[in-house]
Amino acid sequence: MTRGERTMNSTMHAIAWLLLLSLVRHLSALSVTVTDVECVYEYVFYEGDIISGNFVVVDHNIFWSSDHPGLDFTVTSPGGNIVHNLKGTSGDKFEFKAPHSGMYKFCFHNSELTPETVSFYIHVGHIPNEHNLAKDDHLDPINVKIAELREALESVTAEQKYLKARDARHRHTNESTRKRVIFYTFGEYIVLALVSSLQVVYIRQLFSKTVAYGRV
């Protein structure tokens, strides 16, 4: 690798870092950029597993513009069919049963120009059922109950993560509102003072000596 190439890479790295630091907000988040799709893959081992999760979109740069219309969320099965589809949402929960085992694709699509940050959580839950019990001698029936309990606690944890993400977004909105209130109010004061002084200057100018001579 030549020296020039190395410095170019390090500059790019530095710029990437700056870009990242400017885009990072609170929470675990995924930032989907310009008309782009971000996909995450998860392997589902058993057919019939329940895939549950949630995602929350955190708006960026809502200082001047209106609310972002939201992202599109699609889940594609290993066969290629779309299992779950949500359009233009700013956050939702989802839960469905996996029809096949294999690699599932979870995609977020951003149709706007502004980058967005998405906080998501995906969980694939498996409960060993009676069929597996008959096959495996080591599987105690109590393990099934423990697995059910574990899944129930998982759903509570998922709900908490969702609430945490929503709280982060709410806080972001509130802080933005606060900044906007202060900015707009002081802007209003300045504009008012400016406009009235301009009025005074204009009136002064109207009654200046050149005009007065005309009167006289």
Binding site: Y41, F45, I122, D167, N174, Y189, L192, S196, F207
Partner: protein, 211 residues
């Protein structure tokens, strides 16, 4: 032309039986970052590896990645250059967003590789086999201990959420009172500016002997 896109990804997976990992695509030259929100004093373990496109053959050099893990303050916790797999583990001393960034060398034509990441924290990150060996506890008791730890974590999270809600309420009431104060001051500013204008113009015309 340098094209840069910063992408931040999330991880939040817990599965005691099967090791669940998340796969994402990494394009050459474009950095992708994953942030995980960790509580203070939480153990965290992250295992990453680049998926080999050609099974059986060694991974080409173009598929080597750079990994860096930073704390919310910006301190470096882990840095590895030119690797295709590895593990990072540390205890989070402060609560916040920990960011793991993945980056590979720029390549023409742009190369896309799959990176597998398994990032666990809290209950799932604890070394349960060590606990089992130390106390000679059987499997079921381990499962129940895990559940107990999960419940404790949930309880702590509830406290955290309640705290955040309190802060939010304070922020909202502060904004509300600020808005009321500013509106009142706005009326005063308006009236004072109008009064100043009138006074100034009056004195000006009196000076000019027009009034």
């Amino acid at each position: 032309m340098l094209k840069l896109k910063a992408v931040i990804l999330t991880v939040g997976l817990m599965s005691p039986i099967i090791v669940h990992s998340m796969l994402f695509d990494l394009q050459s030259g474009i950095a992708k970052c994953i942030t995980e929100d960790l509580m203070s004093n939480a153990m965290t373990i992250g295992k990453y590896s680049v998926v080999n496109p050609n099974k059986g053959y060694p991974l080409p050099d173009t598929h080597k990645i750079t990994v860096r893990v930073t704390s919310p303050a910006g301190n470096n916790h882990y840095y590895c250059d030119g690797v295709d797999s590895g593990t990072f583990a540390f205890t989070a001393n402060e609560a916040g967003d920990y960011m793991a960034c993945f980056w590979s060398q720029e390549h023409k034509p742009p190369l896309t590789m799959s990176v597998e990441l398994d990032w666990q924290s809290g209950v799932a990150a604890k070394d349960w086999s060590k606990v089992a060996r130390k106390g000679q506890i059987d499997e079921m008791e381990i499962e129940l201990k895990k559940l107990y730890d999960t419940i404790t974590t949930i309880h702590d999270e509830m406290f955290y959420l309640r705290e955040r809600e309190g802060e939010m309420q304070k922020l909202n009431t502060a904004t509300n009172s600020k808005m009321a104060a500013f509106s009142f001051v706005s009326i005063l500013v308006c009236l004072s500016v109008a009064g100043l204008q009138l006074w100034y113009l009056k004195t000006f015309f009196e000076r000019k002997k027009m009034l």
